[in-house]
Amino acid sequence: MHHITTKESIYKLLEQVFDPEVPVLTILDLGIVRDVILGKEVLEIVITPTYSGCPAMDMIEVNIKAVLQENGFEKIKIKTILSPAWTTDWLSEDGKRKLLEYGIVPPMGPSKSKRALFASADAIQCPRCNSAKTEMLSQFGSTACKAQYRCNECLEPFDYFKCH
């Protein structure tokens, strides 16, 4: 076992693991690391998926293992839990700032019930020109976590990290 043995130092290492689909976010920014358990022999990392079918999860597991192995940990177990279900409320403030700088509008407001049919889409500002004259093109975007929007002022399309 490596000399690093505090939880904090493990979290520090996990800052090196990025979301492969939104590469400005670390898995800590995303809020998908639920726990770090330092066993006597095994280091266990508990994660939760953003969406059931998120194809990034398998790659994230591989990348977590790689970073920890590079730092001397041999027995690593990645455990996936589903409950409580991930919500965009767990995105870090720093993560939201990085998203916006990257051109993806972070989720506005807390995750809420989307039960209501035709609930009005969230009012979103264009990340390029800040205009409020935007419209939603589709609830479903280039990845499971994003919706597609268009700015009617500067006419640029953009992604919105939707509330979930």
């Binding site: 059931s52 194809p55 409950s83 589709s138 499971a144 597609q148």
Partner: protein, 249 residues
Amino acid sequence: MNYKLNYILHLADNALILGHRLSEWCGHGPVLEQDMALTNIALDLVGQSRSLYQLAASIQDEGKTEDDLAYFRDVIDFKNVLLVEQENGDFAQTILRQFLFDAYNFHLYQKLLKSSDKQLSAIAEKSLKEITYHLRWSSEWVIRLGDGTEESNRRINEAIEALWPYAGELFIPATYELEAVKEGLGVDSASLKELWSTEIKNVFDEANLEVPEESWVQKGGKNGIHTEKLGFLLAEMQFLQRAYPGQEW
């Protein structure tokens, strides 16, 4: 124990088969945004089926994996309802199939949150967030098509005529469902009919569509008696694993 395995497989098969059907739209959607919506929903459903197959494999305890359950069972082993294996048809038919199923699935998973099985209720909690988006999307499209042009209205009506006989099976519980209800694991599907009917009626009313009369029902899927369409679907979906068993990414 068998009822438990069968119940989970039934849920998993519904998700996988519908997810696979939707994936057939990849690159063929009517517009880019809707092509992506269809494949996003496919991805959610296939993801949900993975969680359910993992749970089924652990119940089975024979050292099998989610892949074994998805790729090495034959038509008669699949327990999905006939509705989800029906072909995509035109966009209207795909939308209607999705809506009829989403309206059912939404209420089912809401009740599964209270399942006595902790893992199943966790899967339901995760899936429900996604299914809520699906139902919203398919409802919106039923209304758009029903209340749209003459042609879109004609097409969605044709879809209703083609698919309505397959909806009734959702509410006829199989033996394993009844046992799962007794044990607190599952939900009595017959009890969902009223919620479902209200959901359908509200959307159909807004879409200027008429809810068909109760009629004869096509059934059998829950017990492995399928339409001829499932065999062709499996032939394509399972080909790679059948030809090269054990291949991984």
